[in-house]
Symmetry: C2
Subunit: 215 residues, 2 copies
């Protein structure tokens, strides 16, 4: 879920999340050569109800043709524009340990227009290294300058719990307003900053539910 | 989202996901010493509407007291039981590269009753190693035997895209029925198996939306 330091929020977070899920599903369908998709198909592929999907898309002025459905290419293009992923987004990774290194190599980012332009750490053995993907690891002390030079917009925090709040403070000071946090802890978010927490125990909790159901 | 190889599904996936989010929020509130919580408070902390939350909880027989709300301790205990995370769940990690190693060290799993009992790889430099958390890395060829010995229930796939389907096939053959997949690819899921895909580009897409809104 997304935390924000202010009260604004014209579009509820869960709607934004669903739009991002729809967009990902449509990317796969485009590759499969699909031309149209009904809200019932989208429901089957996402688990969200067809009513919910129609309501979400109508909110953004997208209306399917009755009996035909949505044009996959047009709906995908529209969603990418709404989400702002039709243009390249420049990303920095804070923390170049195992998780940070894994994220630098994550092919799903580049495929969706997210470009990792720099990584940061404080460990002497890591700072100064260039990864096999060509991403240079800098000292956190240089973050402000490099974020400005590289015109980065998104920070990903891949640091231990104890370092997460200081890391958030550093990226906020550098002017970044969108942050994805992997550390399993609650962070204090200043006004105007959007923080999304990736909580892997939520994913595991949902899986665990099915273990109980199926047995 | 969760894929399943069969048509069952008494409770829709998005409901299960929301229950897992509520449970995580209540864990934090318990630590903060909260006694009661209203659906409006839960709405503010999760972004889901109060109506949605009341409907989800009523589905499982949980009714708040009007004007008071839900008892945090009781609701948390009930959700943990529904999700099956009130008992320890034993987990194996397939792939002991950067991501797998990061997951072995992820404190959020142990805190929520998920215990990593073994990891698997094929690289000679990794097999036979015991991590600093005391998790032994075995060869994938031994997965079936070790899953049985360790009574593992959940597999986490932390392998490259090209290895994801073979890895899924191996864990399914070993009898595992709940799988969390980090590889950004679509996998073919046999009947009776629940697969959750962690798609980090969905998270980034949602963040990207706010960049457009705030500027």
């Amino acid at each position: 879920m997304t935390q924000s330091g202010d009260e604004c929020g014209r579009v509820p977070d869960p709607v934004v999340e669903r739009l991002s899920v729809y967009s990902r599903v449509l990317t796969v369908m485009l590759r499969e050569g699909a031309i149209t998709i009904s809200s019932a198909d989208l429901s089957e592929r996402t688990g969200f109800s067809a009513t919910q999907i129609r309501r979400d898309l109508a909110f953004f002025g997208q209306f399917g043709t009755p009996g035909v459905g949505y044009d996959v290419w047009r709906l995908h293009a529209r969603l990418e524009r709404i989400l702002g992923v039709d243009i390249e987004r420049r990303v920095v990774i804070v923390g170049a340990g195992n998780l940070g290194t894994a994220l630098i190599g994550y092919t799903g980012f580049r495929e969706h227009n997210f470009r990792i332009v720099a990584a940061f750490d404080i460990a002497p053995g890591r700072v100064g290294v260039t990864t096999q993907q060509g991403v240079r690891i800098h000292h956190v002390a240089d973050l402000g300058r490099i974020v400005a030079d590289e015109k980065a917009e998104i920070a990903v925090l891949a640091v231990p719990v104890a370092a997460a709040q200081p890391a958030l403070d550093v990226v906020v000071k550098a002017g970044l307003r969108a942050v994805l946090n992997f550390a399993p802890t609650q962070l204090a978010v200043p006004p105007g900053v959007r923080l999304r927490n990736v909580d892997l125990s939520v994913e595991m909790g949902a899986l665990s539910f099915y273990l109980g159901q199926d047995s």
